[in-house]
């Protein structure tokens, strides 16, 4: 379809059935080193090649490092506008001279980027959602006025940094909501780079974004493997498989027809989990395996186990949601129930006729 926005990665566009829907914010998530920034750069590069004005808001790496890192791929990002929102070294003694970044706008063409900006002696730049939003807004209207152009693509790298630096408590949800509302109102297609810090809380950007591209990285033996999946994509169908991804000399390549072993994927999830957790995972899976075998056996012997099947399906949902304690409890309950029933079998043949109540003559 022609109304799609290409991500700059061919294989990923195939997975997205053509690309992203324009003028909406999307999230790119994944662990550190999984390729989020490279993907974001390829997205911007694709825009530049089509002559679209593109803006990179960088909070993690200073522009000079972004430039050096992307230089490796030989991409021409000279026309990329880069907004440096990396916070300065904090002056430990808070003084009145601490100013918001918004008032000292630093937007440069990529080609003009040289060294790291030195923290000013007099005032340090602080970054907040508010100031970043203000910076983007200023730059947006500036560009509209001067060049009569609107930014088509914006990348914020990363939202995690923005949240960590500047959010205070409860309000952070409202600030992110407002920031994403702002991005949708300026009608640019946006990629927000975000690291999922906690899987048990619902983070605002993940449910407000119109889609999530998740990058995976895991150790397979001693090789690092990478993959990509689409977790959510509103308004269109998409390829829901996990597809292999590699980072080579030309950037990210996704094989849209490639297979990647989910078992390794499961291993990747285990990286970083404690020894105890992996023990309980092994325990639950072996109990579940046993239960499933017993259910098959019960079916062969024609013993009614419907209630156990229900309980097992629950246990599996718990397992998949990583509620291991609950899964184990449920699985063990199933196991003992089944043992009991299978132990009782073969049931004594039912009496052909009911015994007569005492005192009743035949």
């Amino acid at each position: 379809m022609s109304d799609r926005v290409s991500t700059g990665v061919e294989g990923l566009d195939v997975m997205l059935s053509g690309g992203l829907l324009p003028a909406r914010p999307y999230v790119v998530s994944g662990p550190t080193g999984s390729g989020k920034t490279i993907l974001a750069a390829q997205f911007l590069l694709d825009g530049l090649r089509r002559g679209e004005p593109c803006l990179l808001v960088t909070l993690d790496e200073p522009p000079s490092e972004v430039k050096a890192n992307m230089g490796i791929f030989g991409w021409n990002l000279d026309r990329l506008k880069i907004l440096d929102a990396t916070p300065d070294i904090r002056a430990h003694r808070r003084t009145r001279s601490v100013i918001d970044v918004g008032t000292a706008l630093d937007v440069r063409d990529m080609e003009d980027v040289q060294g790291v900006r030195q923290s000013s002696q007099i005032h340090a730049l602080e970054v907040s959602v508010h100031s970043v939003q203000k910076m983007i807004k200023q730059e947006f209207s500036h560009r509209l006025e001067k060049a009569k152009e609107r930014y088509r693509r914006i990348v914020v790298d990363s939202l995690t940094a923005l949240k960590m630096f500047s959010m205070q408590g409860e309000d952070s949800r409202i600030l992110i909501q407002s920031f994403m509302r702002f991005l949708s109102e300026i009608e640019a297609t946006c990629l927000l780079v975000s690291e999922r810090l906690n899987r048990t809380t619902i983070e605002t950007e993940f449910f407000l974004s119109r889609g999530e591209i998740r990058l995976h990285k895991w150790l397979d033996g001693n090789v690092i493997r990478r993959a990509v999946s689409i977790e959510k994509f509103r308004g269109t169908r998409f390829d829901d498989h996990v597809r292999p991804l590699s980072i080579g000399g030309t950037g990210i390549v996704v094989q849209p027809n490639g297979q990647t072993s989910f078992r390794s994927g499961a291993v990747s999830l285990r990286v970083g989990e404690s020894f105890l957790e992996s023990r309980i995972i092994a325990e639950v899976s072996s109990v579940l395996d046993g239960v499933l075998h017993q259910i098959d056996e019960a079916h062969r012997k024609q013993i009614a186990v419907k209630d156990v099947e229900v309980a097992v399906s629950r246990a599996m949902v718990h397992f998949q949601r990583r509620n291991y304690q609950k899964a184990l409890k449920q699985a063990l309950a199933c196991d003992s129930l089944l043992r009991q029933r299978l132990g009782d079998s073969p049931p004594p043949p039912p009496p052909t006729e009911l015994p007569l109540p005492p005192g009743v003559a035949r």
Binding site: L21, A23, R24, H130, Q133, K134, E170, D171, R173, I174, L175, Q177, S178, R181, F182, S184, E185, E187, R199, T200, T201, I202, T204, F206, F207, L208, R210, E212, S229, E231, K232, F233, R234, G235, T236, R237, D239, D240, H241, V242, Q259, S261, F262, G265, L288, D289, L292, E309, V310, V312, S313, R314, M316, V317, Q320, R321, R322, N323
Partner: protein, 260 residues
């Protein structure tokens, strides 16, 4: 049983609910992002529209213009659906007047929803708090009798509209309000990828939960009825798909073991 029920618009789900939903009560549809909550709740409204009922969709997450575009592939006739845009504007940080959403705000018909996003006006911005939303709805319900309403999502309401309120109490009173208004409502609720469901799940009369699991062949979706007061229901976790016809639950293949 015994109680009259209304259909949810999803055939398989009606079977799981042993006939449908008991009208006049609030229900939760929960699930992780991208599991199909919005689509399911739109099917619920569409069922009502086809029966000539008046239906209201309260958008707190996805802007109505995008909702309209996203629903196009399903080719459902939603022209007569009332849509209330209850998304707060961009916040202003300067001390400018912030207007609470006014009770004069009216829902628009789906057919009148435009292609572009509503823009925050230059000099004042609209803020939606749970209090102002309640006032608006009260006034609206006096004027018009609605049969079905969807709040998409409760999570957004809690996250963005309850700044100075106690969350659980306020949620409880919001749900109470919907019950007193006598309409059948579906409230969608975001679930984290792991861990426990948020407390809102316990406040409604029933909860339909969507599960999203991954295996070798991609994303597998399952649906279960976690709770249903005043009615029996299926205990199984059933697989479902999102197709051109919307959410389709496969109740027929009775053996519903989750992939092992």
């Amino acid at each position: 049983m015994g109680l009259a029920k209304i259909r949810t618009g999803v055939l398989g789900l009606d079977k799981m609910l042993h006939g449908g939903l008991v009208p006049g009560r609030p229900y939760i549809v929960s699930g992780p992002p991208g599991s199909g909550k919005t689509i399911l709740s739109i099917q619920f409204l569409r069922e009502g529209l086809e029966g000539g009922e008046r239906c209201l969709f309260i958008a707190l997450e996805e802007p109505p213009n995008e909702l309209k575009i996203n629903l196009r592939p399903f080719r459902w006739n939603l022209d007569d659906l009332d849509v209330l845009d209850a998304i707060s504007d961009i916040r202003r940080f300067e001390p400018t007047p912030i207007m609470e959403i006014s009770t004069e705000t009216e829902p628009v018909k789906m057919r009148a929803v435009g292609e572009g996003i509503r823009k925050t006006p230059d000099f004042e911005s609209q803020e939606v708090s749970v209090h102002s939303l309640l006032q608006l709805l009260k006034k609206l319900f006096v004027k018009r009798k609605y049969h079905r309403i969807v709040v998409d999502s409760m999570t957004a309401l809690k996250y963005f509209c309850m700044r100075e309120f106690e969350e659980t109490l306020t949620t409880q009173s919001f749900i109470r309000f919907l019950t007193e208004a006598g309409l059948t409502s579906i409230l969608t609720l975001e679930l984290p990828e792991e861990g426990e469901a948020p407390p809102e799940a316990f406040l409604a009369r029933g909860e339909v939960r969507l599960h999203k699991l991954r295996d070798d062949s991609g994303i597998k979706r399952f649906i279960s009825v976690e709770k249903y007061k005043g009615s029996s229901h299926e205990e199984f976790v059933y697989p479902f798909d999102i197709t051109n016809a919307g959410v389709t639950v496969h109740v027929a293949n009775g053996d519903s073991r989750t992939p092992s």
